[in-house]
């Protein structure tokens, strides 16, 4: 049995696929690709497949980790080639590596939020407004967790935040606490900023760019 870490890119129509559906989708893709998976034992055997940091519905990802276990030796290149031949549009394997770091080492992640408006002025205004809001250090929102809903200051989850206008778009680059200990959904941040700024963009894309461990070291 070999543990293998797949790094996939999720974009386009695939961002509308929820985490549970992603699980089903990859299970089938791995079967179509003929990759010899290790199955759990017991009454209801199922293939071992673990998403280390599930993406929320609507968020795209540049390089997302997914662990599988294979029962035969199969090269990284071969896995990548076979999977990319059968994955649906919007999902792509960008790399296959050994599973080095553990999921609980994940601390933060970098996001790019692009909010498009009808004019450059509006984009400018939005970028200015959100920079101001974050600058105050206080942005309250209701956050849902397993223990229920509670009101938190989102700024406590923000490690860095930069917003600027680019044509009709306001582009935000932000690093947020991410992982099993403390986590902020970039979608929730954007939604709260929209409300606070009292502006609503025409279209919106959120992309998770990179995932980090302690000391801004890339998760691998």
């Amino acid at each position: 049995m070999n543990s293998v870490r797949l790094w996939y890119k999720k974009s386009g129509l695939a961002v509308y696929t929820s985490h549970l559906d992603m699980n089903r989708c990859f299970t089938r893709a791995v079967r179509r690709a003929g990759i010899p998976l290790w199955y759990t034992e017991g009454f209801n055997p199922h293939p071992y497949l673990t998403f280390l940091l599930p993406l929320p519905l609507g968020t795209a990802g540049e390089r997302e980790p997914l662990d599988i276990r294979t029962v035969e030796d199969i090269s990284a290149d071969e896995i990548k080639k076979r999977l990319n031949a059968v994955l649906p549009e919007g999902l792509e394997i960008v790399d296959v590596t050994e599973a080095r770091d553990k999921a609980n080492e994940i601390v933060s992640a970098a996001y790019e939020i692009t909010a498009c408006f009808e004019s450059g002025e509006e984009a400018e205004k939005f970028a200015g407004a959100v920079t101001g809001i974050i600058g105050t250090g206080a942005l309250e929102a209701e956050k849902r967790s397993k223990r229920g809903i509670k009101t938190v200051n989102l700024c406590e989850f923000i490690l860095s935040f930069k917003a600027k206008a680019d044509g009709n778009a306001a582009v935000i680059h932000t690093a947020l606490l991410t992982g099993t200990q403390q986590n902020l959904n970039a979608g929730l941040l954007e939604e709260t900023l929209e409300k606070a700024a009292e502006m609503s963009p025409e279209t919106l894309t959120i992309v998770r760019k990179e995932i980090y461990k302690e000391n801004n070291e890339l998760f691998a």
Binding site: G12, L13, A14, Y16, T17, S18, L20, D21, R24, C25, T27, R28, A29, V30, R31, R32, Y39, F43, N44, P45, P47, L57, G58, V86, L87, P88, E89, G90, G187, P201, E202, T203, L204
Partner: protein
């Protein structure tokens, strides 16, 4: 792909994956590269529609042509409908995002009566008039197929034509004809007259219906050269028929999240309540080799790990053992689960059973349908209490602890003893568990019984029978609840109001078109969903047009009454159905086709078990 305008709304609806398209194996063709565009519409949500085998067949079939494309359309849920309406986005097809109204053929598959209002709603969301007469152009042509079109009279004013029976051949012929008429710039009326000549096509507007004063039908007259009786299509050889080798694989979890492969059509059993069994006669089988080929191809192209072998009665498949012996090693090696719905385990080889369950263990279900042997004889359901109990005993010894039993109430000739019999049979199964020496240690048994309300359907021996009124059904349900004494038995009941509406439309006539339209205009849709059903609006709609809905449900018909579907021919003759009705009332059973031919009339459709029997005689 969805229309661009929708993008910013997608994350505001439940399960946006229903509306995006882009699933694996979906076929996207350029509109200008084909002559005919076909929008296949399922009048319910994505998760239900994507589980439907008929759609998968027609989708692959039409897309196998270079001159045509087929795209999928589902009923948007309430939240999405609101957005489509407020943003003025016409209903679109999932592959291209093109508006449904720009397709040449808009085809609905009609699986249940309570989806009728959804058809009107989808036409309206497309920006089309709901009535056939108000759609003047040749295209879009609105057509329907599926079980319900055996009596689609309550929808006759809305569709341009229906396809009766198997769709594989007639769909292709219809596309050919439409292509020809579109090219020569013909009008809709001219086309419909020509289409009515294709066997398997029924054009409701070419039939005049007159009524008697008592509301029954006086006469149905065919006009403009339409056949006096529209005959269903029957594919004689399933091995030579088009079968898909790949399915669209949804991102979302659907109702049946697995692949389905047909093993045969038709049924030899002749259960007298079962419409599907009579509509699809004669029984025609696929060869085991062909079934296995399809299973392997579909699993390879989809990655599914479960195959359901689909038919009306798995155990009647002659090649079952051959198929399983050949296919099980492959299935087990690839961790593929084979589901055999409605398998009768009593005569099934034990070693095959063990191999079948080696991947995943599924539940044990029976459909005795009625609680007493007397009533089971009336409905010709040949399963005995002894068979149920001996199979359960076998299963309990093998480690099973849960059994599901399906029943109906409201069957013709039913008495309180029959209702009580349901509880008694369930109790007998519970007792069987506790008397079993080899039962799983330290475990308890769970017998769940599901009780549906019987709805008499066209083209069955019970097509003349009265349907129980909702209050009677509730009384019977309550009686059953009183009779259930054990906590090991759980009962699930159905809402009798949905069965009532289903009954009205199952045996309704054309005068109901106004009612359907009015109810839809007043907010009725998704009527099969309990949370959406607006019974009061339906009752107001009946009243508005002076129609007593119980005329269609609670009235027992005379054998000589002209029924709204008498001008359609599904093979089985009225004389046969009448004989079967009389035998039912005498409590006489009728043997399955393979034992003895009962001259139902389907033999004229050619193929399958009828030929098998003829050869045996020669």
């Amino acid at each position: 792909m969805y229309p661009e305008k929708l993008e910013k709304h997608l994350l505001r609806v439940q399960k946006p994956g229903r509306y995006t398209g882009g699933e694996l194996n979906s076929v996207v063709k350029d509109r200008d590269s084909v002559d005919i565009s076909y929008a296949f519409c399922f009048p319910d949500t994505y998760e239900i529609g994507m589980s439907h085998l008929g759609m998968k067949i027609i989708y692959s079939l039409v897309n196998s042509r270079d001159d045509a494309r087929c795209e999928r359309v589902f009923a948007p849920d309430v939240d999405m409908e609101e957005i489509l309406r407020s943003e003025n986005i016409p209903l679109y097809a999932l592959e291209s995002g093109d508006a449904v109204k720009d397709f040449d053929i808009i085809g609905f598959t009609m699986q249940y009566e309570l989806s009728y209002t959804n058809v009107l709603n989808m036409l309206d969301l497309s920006g089309l008039p709901v009535r056939s007469a108000d759609r003047k152009g040749l295209t879009p042509l609105v057509i329907a197929g599926g079980t319900c079109v055996c009596n689609f009279e309550p929808m006759a004013d809305f569709v341009d034509l229906t396809l009766l029976g198997d769709g594989e051949e007639v769909t292709m012929e219809l596309i050919d004809l439409l292509k020809e008429y579109k090219k020569k710039g013909a009008g809709k009326e001219e086309f419909l007259k020509a289409a009515a000549q294709i066997p398997g096509v029924y054009v409701p507007s070419l039939y005049e219906v007159e009524y008697k004063e008592d509301g029954t039908i006086a006469a149905v007259t065919a006009k403009d050269g339409a056949p006096g009786k529209a005959v269903k299509r029957n594919v004689a050889d399933l091995d030579k028929m088009f079968s898909p080798e790949t399915f669209v694989v949804p991102f979302l979890e659907t109702v049946f999240d697995r692949t389905t492969v047909e093993i045969f059509r038709g049924c030899i059993r002749g259960c007298r309540f079962c419409q599907a069994g009579f509509l699809s006669r004669p029984l025609r089988e696929k060869s085991p080799a062909e079934v296995e080929r399809e299973c392997r191809a579909i699993c390879d192209s989809t990655g599914y790990d479960e195959i359901s072998l689909c038919s009306l009665s798995t155990s009647d498949y002659k090649g079952l053992e051959t198929l399983l012996r050949s296919m099980l090693p492959w299935a087990n090696e690839n961790k593929i689960n084979i589901a055999l719905p409605s398998l009768r385990v009593d005569n099934f080889p034990q070693e095959l059973m063990e191999q079948l369950t080696s991947v995943r263990r599924s539940g044990l279900t029976f459909a005795p349908e009625a609680g007493t042997q007397r009533l089971r004889d009336v409905i010709n359901k040949n399963i005995t209490e002894k068979e149920v109990l001996s199979t359960c005993a076998q299963a309990f010894s093998g480690g099973w602890t849960a059994v599901k039993l399906y029943f109906m109430i409201g069957l013709p000739t039913e008495t309180p003893e029959d209702v009580e019999g349901i509880a008694n049979l369930a109790q007998a199964v519970v007792d069987e568990f506790y008397h079993n020496e080899n039962k799983p240690k330290g475990k308890s048994v769970n017998v769940s019984i599901s009780v549906a309300s019987f709805v008499p359907k066209p083209f069955t021996p019970f097509q003349w029978e009265a349907q129980d009124r909702p209050d009677t059904l509730i009384e019977k349900q309550n009686l059953l609840m009183q009779c259930v004494k054990s906590r090991k038995i759980t009962v699930s009941r159905h809402v009798p109001h949905t069965s009532f509406l289903e009954g009205v439309f199952a045996r309704g006539d054309r005068r109901l078109c106004d009612v359907v339209e009015y109810a839809w205009k007043n907010g009725c849709k998704f009527d099969s969903w309990e949370e959406h059903l607006k019974l009061d609006v339906w009752m107001q709609s009946f009243e508005k047009f002076g129609i007593d809905p119980f005329f269609y449900t609670a009235r027992k018909r005379d054998f000589d009454e002209i029924l709204p579907w008498d001008h359609l021919d599904f093979g089985v003759t009225k004389a046969f159905l009448k004989r079967e009705n009389e035998r039912a009332h005498e409590g006489l059973t009728t043997p399955p086709c393979r034992e003895k031919c009962s001259a139902c009339g389907a033999a004229k459709l050619n193929g399958g078990v009828c030929n098998e029997l003829c050869k045996a005689v020669v």
